[in-house]
């Protein structure tokens, strides 16, 4: 919640036409600037932000430090590209603008977007740094775009000269799939703001698609602990279920499916789902190997389909009445019934494996981290579904006579 006046120096030189940061370097900067302004204002409403451009015909101050976000965003729209970046003049003008800030109690900070080559030498940068330090101005440097030899060292020299108690930072943003703003969000430029700023930054990270964030699943536990917990738990569940499915397929050959039951039960118990717990209890009562595996399958399906379906599946477990809405569930029930009645050797093994595959493919599509449009995933699902398709039709024919038990 530190009271701060910030001047943001934007690089609008010719180098910013490049599209290596989508959509173009200049627009990437504009996005980052709007995020920074939002974060600053949110962490303390009295914080002010001003903008100046370093390229073009010369350094031009677009707005002096102000709390009005609308004014700042309006200026961002009018940016045009041209000329060369004059970093020394830019920083000095920024310092002057900060000196004349209205609220003298605000700390002074400059944020520089250094995208094009720095034509000044180290000595000049160090002198500028010293002057900033003397006037207690902190600086955040965002190094992106052009990476000619010497630029990182010059910026490091500037940082070393200014840095007082770690209040200044230098962030390198390499080109890549992550947008400029996303990389900045997780950098000290944002996180040095304190509680309010980091909350905003985390929210922005969650909102940004494929954002680089420090939290799993892009959800900040501070903002949404239940969601973060649920995601984490369901991820573990899926993993456990997949292991169980793989194990079952392996164990069926040796008929040792019982050991996995308690382990998967314990993992299931972490899920805060009462119906599933009751399902575990009811299935444990039977203690029949066939029933256990059947109920395991049913429980797994229930969890992926939702609790309402699990209720019906629990009720129907013993009667094995297939619900029409859910063909896969019916298939599972069918298979388990077949196991009861038929010789549990080759055919049951195969059917179980097939069942597992279709059920595994259904899991794959419902996994939070898996994108169903990913070609590799599509191929996998197709290969899995290709096999049981023919046997599915066979089983559906068998369904009507087996329906009532």
């Amino acid at each position: 919640m530190v009271l701060e006046a910030t001047m943001i120096c934007i690089d609008n030189s010719e180098w910013m036409r490049n599209g290596d940061y989508s959509p173009s370097r200049l627009r990437a900067q504009a996005d980052a600037v709007s995020l920074i302004c939002g974060a600053k204002t949110q962490s303390n409403p009295e914080n002010t932000v001003g903008i100046l451009t370093m390229g073009g015909k010369g350094v031009r101050v677009l707005t002096t430090p102000t709390t009005d976000l609308g004014k700042i965003l309006a200026c961002m729209h009018e940016l045009d590209i041209g000329g060369e970046m004059n970093i020394a003049a830019g920083i000095q003008v920024a310092q002057l603008a900060l000196k004349h800030r209205q609220n003298k109690n605000q700390r002074q900070r400059i944020i520089v977007f250094a995208g094009s080559p720095v034509k000044y030498d180290r000595k000049v940068m160090e002198m500028i740094g010293k002057k900033l330090k003397k006037n207690s101005v902190a600086i955040d440097i965002v190094n992106f775009g052009e990476d000619d030899d010497g630029k990182p060292e010059k910026l490091e020299a500037l940082l070393a000269a200014v840095n007082n108690n770690d209040s200044s930072h230098l962030v390198h943003v390499p080109t890549g799939p992550n947008a400029l703003s996303d990389v900045l969000i997780s950098s000290p430029v944002f996180t040095a703001d304190g509680e309010g700023g980091s909350g905003f930054a985390a929210a922005a990270a969650a909102a940004a698609a494929g954002g680089v964030s420090d939290f799993d699943f892009g959800v900040d536990p501070n903002i949404d602990p239940e969601l973060a917990l649920a995601l984490r738990v369901s991820m573990e569940e899926e993993r456990a279920r997949q292991e169980a499915a793989a194990k079952r397929a392996a164990d069926e050959a040796s008929r040792q499916g019982k050991e996995e039951e308690p382990s998967s039960n314990s993992q299931d118990a972490t899920m805060t789902d009462n119906t599933n717990n009751t399902a575990a209890e009811t299935t444990e009562k039977t203690a029949d190997p066939m029933d256990e595996e059947k109920s395991l399958l049913e429980r797994a399906f229930a969890m992926s389909m939702g609790t309402s379906v699990s209720d019906t599946s629990m009720a129907d477990a013993d009667t094995s009445k297939a619900t029409d809405e859910d063909k896969e569930l019916a298939l599972a029930l069918q298979m388990s019934m077949q196991d009861d009645t038929k010789d549990p050797s080759n055919q049951s093994d195969m059917s179980k494996v097939l069942g597992d595959q279709s059920f595994v493919s259904s899991i794959l599509t419902s996994l939070p981290g898996v994108d169903p449009n990913d070609p590799s995933v599509k191929d996998l699902i197709a290969s899995l579904q290709g096999q049981p398709e023919s046997s599915e039709q066979k089983k559906k024919e068998d369904e009507p006579p087996k329906d009532d038990k």
């Binding site: 000196k99 003298k104 010293k130 002057k131 330090k133 003397k134 006037n135 207690s136 000269a161 007082n164 108690n165």
Partner: protein, 177 residues
């Protein structure tokens, strides 16, 4: 009407430490490990090991607001022989000065410190210039030996207050009515 409140009370010159408004105190170009309270606060300033040190270069700019209006009589600046300050400029009632505008206006007074001063001998100021001081800016321009950093052990301000402070006297008058 008793004349108690209107007679010229001979105020003795006191240490103005108690009248410094700590919330507004600022110091530019100081090393954060060796900061301003080391030189000014009671106890800190007597300690030889605690001193105020400059950072990027040898200049220091100290801003001290007061809780009430004071008259400044003299100051004491103690420091080591070599890195102690030499030229000290004082500005009264100028808020938020920076190094760039120290030379824009003439100082209220300038003191060139001798080694005697650095040992504790007070520097008497032009009293007439400091009759109505709300805030004081101390600009240490250079040091004795011209070294990169300036070190200050103690800064003490002496003077008198301006406002009537004798509330007890006031009450007595009212009781007589």
């Amino acid at each position: 009407m008793s004349a108690e409140s209107t007679t010229a009370i001979n105020r003795s010159i006191v240490d103005l430490l108690d009248f410094i408004d700590w919330s507004g105190v600022e110091c530019l170009n100081h090393n954060t490990a060796h900061s301003l309270p080391n030189a000014i606060k009671q106890g800190y300033r007597e300690d030889e090991g605690l001193y105020l040190e400059s950072d990027a270069d040898e200049q220091l700019l100290i801003y001290l607001p007061f809780t009430q209006v004071v008259k400044l009589h003299s100051i004491v600046v103690k420091g080591p022989e070599e890195e102690g300050p030499k030229t000290v400029k004082l500005f009264s009632n100028r808020e938020h000065m920076g190094f760039s505008n120290v030379n824009d206006f003439p100082p209220s007074d300038t003191a060139v410190l001798t080694p005697d001063n650095l040992k504790g001998k007070p520097v008497v100021l032009k009293f007439v210039k400091f009759q109505n001081v709300r805030s004081l800016t101390i600009f240490i321009e250079d040091n004795q030996s011209g070294s990169e950093v300036t070190k200050v052990d103690k800064i003490a301000l002496f003077g008198t207050t301006v406002e009537t402070t004798d509330m007890k006297g006031l009450k007595k008058i009212e009781d007589n009515h």
